[in-house]
């Protein structure tokens, strides 16, 4: 089966035609609406909206590498939330003294940890929706509308493009090293990784030199022209995120303090 790439994912999204800045504002409205809430209802609502957007965008069809990255982050998130549960002061349910540190499980700690966890998961869903429906070069070209310096957007697009070239080289080198038992023990692993990193660096510098010569041969004058510009931000795309943010704040006020378990 052919592997799904990130570019294929974003360019096949149903929301590709939406203005990138509009999608960014929508994502920010949802993220900040969830962040400002002290009721668990709001992050749950944002999670639901995020999941609906994600499903409508590309039916939960993601490259495997992204799914692994998200699962990896989820594990780190569990550790962070666990610590918050143990350190938050409040009505103590369980306590343990460890020399200078006192670990206690409080009602408030569980509530706060639940809120942070749902908020983080909701944030993942919203970020995933945004990343899977917006080709990142589109976003950075669109940022020029907000007077972000052109050299920054160009630099960002070039970093994005070169990353995929280098990750391919890195993959081939790792596979070649595996075939030669380059990862057989810890010492070999370090040596192999060091050699691979230096090789990718050397190659990338050669590549930059070749690309520079090629560009000058094509009359490069320090700027990259953009031929297919993404949709522009319209007033509708400013009003809708503002309404969503205001609605989330109102829901938070009506819902009261966060859920007590």
């Amino acid at each position: 089966m052919e592997k799904l790439t990130l570019d294929q994912l974003t360019y096949s999204s149903r929301f590709l035609s939406w203005p990138p800045l509009g999608k960014l504002l929508l994502a920010l409205a949802l993220l900040f609406g969830s962040l400002f809430a002290d009721s668990i209802i709001v992050p749950l609502l944002v999670l639901m909206i995020g999941m609906i957007l994600l499903y409508s965008s590309n039916r939960f069809n993601f490259p495997r590498v992204i799914i692994w990255a998200y699962l990896n982050t989820l594990l780190a998130l569990f550790i962070g939330v666990f610590i918050i549960t143990l350190i938050t002061p409040g009505t103590v349910i369980w306590q343990m003294r460890l020399s200078i540190i006192t670990l206690s499980l409080s009602k408030e700690g569980i509530s706060l940890a639940s809120l942070v966890f749902i908020r983080a998961i909701a944030g993942f869903a919203v970020l995933m929706f945004f990343a899977s429906s917006t080709p990142l070069p589109h976003l950075f070209i669109a940022l020029q509308q907000l007077k972000v310096p052109k050299h920054v957007s160009e630099l960002t697009i070039l970093v994005y493009r070169y990353f995929f070239l280098f990750i391919e080289q890195l993959g081939s080198m790792i596979q070649a090293a595996e075939c030669r038992l380059g990862f057989r023990d810890i010492k070999a692993k370090f040596r192999t990784y060091g050699v691979i990193v230096a090789s990718v660096f050397g190659r990338s510098m050669d590549f930059a030199e070749r690309a520079e010569q090629a560009l000058y041969c094509r009359n490069f004058r320090g700027e990259f022209p953009v031929y297919r510009k993404p949709a522009k931000l319209t007033a509708r795309w400013i009003i809708i995120p503002c309404i969503i943010f205001a609605a989330l704040i109102v829901i938070n006020l009506k819902a009261g303090k966060f859920l007590t378990i």
């Binding site: 002061p89 540190i101 006192t102 990343a131 970093v159 994005y160 990750i167 370090f190 230096a198 590549f207």
Partner: protein, 219 residues
Amino acid sequence: MHIAEGFLPPFWAIFWWLTSLPFIIYGVWKTGKIFKKHPEYKLTLAVSGAFIFVLSSLKLPSVTGSSSHPTGTGLAAVLFGPGVTALLSFIVLIFQALLLAHGGITTLGADVFSMGIVGPFTAYLLFRALRALKASLNISVFIAAVISDWITYVVTSLQLALAYPAANGILGSFTIFLGVFAIAQIPLAVAEGILIVIFFDYLKKSRPKLAAKLLGKLK
């Protein structure tokens, strides 16, 4: 060490954004100045940014059984200076947040401050100081990489402790966050230090011209 999306309360999310912003703006100004004088450096810098991103996708073995990735920002700071690294880190951290869920948008300010500003600045200053004290290249690179990694974890622990103080105050939660991270991050920082030393060593042997060019810059 990225702080995940939604993990910081609004006050701290905004506070760290405002703290990082002057450094990012300085990086934007500095790169703009460089590009005006040498437009061809756009490609070199872009390639370096992509290299940092690639480096951060490498899985390093750790003695605790877990694995993690090098940050690469210490290396960038040593090669290009801390100002440019702040901007490069900002760009790479946006990609990591959006594509890999490492970090987030609301926590981007905090992540840039620990990984793109404090870490690289420490690496740069330490490296310069050690070279001025006539320490060997390998020792200077190793110490700069390891200490800057540790400082990054200390700052991340402090950011989390400020946001979530324990019953006995910020110091209490700082000790707990630092203690939990130390188990994995102390050996990982040493691992990254070793990796970067091997990197420079191999570069000197396999690409003497490129190494000489870089080492000339690093004197």
